[in-house]
Amino acid sequence: MPLGNYVILKPDTGERMHFVEHRIEPRTVTDNVTLRPKAVNVLVLSVDRLNGQAVAAQFSTMSETLYAKLEAYLAGNLYRNYEFIITQRGTGFQTRYTVEAIPLVTR
């Protein structure tokens, strides 16, 4: 059972997160098709609130699709003004992400 240090998405279940910091981290992973190591860039986000509970956790993704959805919020740490509900749908090459951005202050 994973500790509470990392947020791991479960299929079709949204996780509501508030991000406070981010970084792009180079990592070496094993390609699950070729079984060879490959260098990748990972978007790592620090989470201070998960589903309404205070936490000190990390959420990371290698997905270009998910990165493209979050990229606009990275400049100036705009993500701090939102909570995000991220839902993973499907697996492998068919994985899709539904991202719900909820402003913390609404007019």
Partner: protein, 171 residues
């Protein structure tokens, strides 16, 4: 030859939402349509959502406005496909379980494009869809590349690249 995906329309949607609707709740890649109730009863809600995935189209984005749900499709290529989808997707909003918490709201339709033309505007008006052009510099480059694709200069350059790849044994 493998090409890294540019995620053009995904990035375009995210940037557009932040530029135009930053104060409102938004949902990207939102599944639309009903989930079979019998399936939900036997498999459970979460499992039924997963199993229904192939039969549920996705809206590029939905913005939750005070009195409306704004349904958005973003298109750089095949813009008419995006326009045609929107009125059909609208019919699925009232039966989408994920959106029930926002109902009742009227549904507005918006097509976000990197470029437009007068015929697209005429069709959109007739279909009840608002056209919005979002064209930051990086997207203008994509649109320019798309338009250049059919020019003789591009075709000559493409032919030269293909021949070079063949000569170098890369094909």
């Amino acid at each position: 030859m493998p090409r890294k995906s540019r995620q053009v329309e995904t990035r375009m949607t995210a940037e557009y939402l932040l530029k135009e609707y930053s104060k409102f709740q938004s949902i990207t890649a939102c599944p639309l349509g009903r989930v079979d109730e019998a399936l939900m009863a036997t498999a459970g809600y979460q499992k039924a959502l997963g199993l229904s995935r192939p039969y549920r189209p996705e809206a590029d984005a939905i913005v939750v406005l005070p009195n409306y749900l704004l349904l958005i499709e973003s298109k750089v290529w095949n813009v008419v496909n995006g326009l045609a989808k929107l009125p059909l997707y609208k019919s699925l909003v009232p039966v989408t379980p994920e959106l029930q918490k926002f109902m009742p709201r009227e549904v507005l339709l918006e097509l976000v494009v990197g470029w437009t033309n007068s015929n697209l505007e005429i069709m959109a008006r007739d279909a009840g869809v608002r056209i919005k052009v979002y064209s930051p510099p990086w997207l203008q480059e994509v649109v320019r590349g798309m338009h250049d694709y059919w020019t003789s200069d591009y075709q000559r350059e493409r032919q030269r690249v293909l021949e070079a790849r063949k000569t170098l044994g890369l094909e």
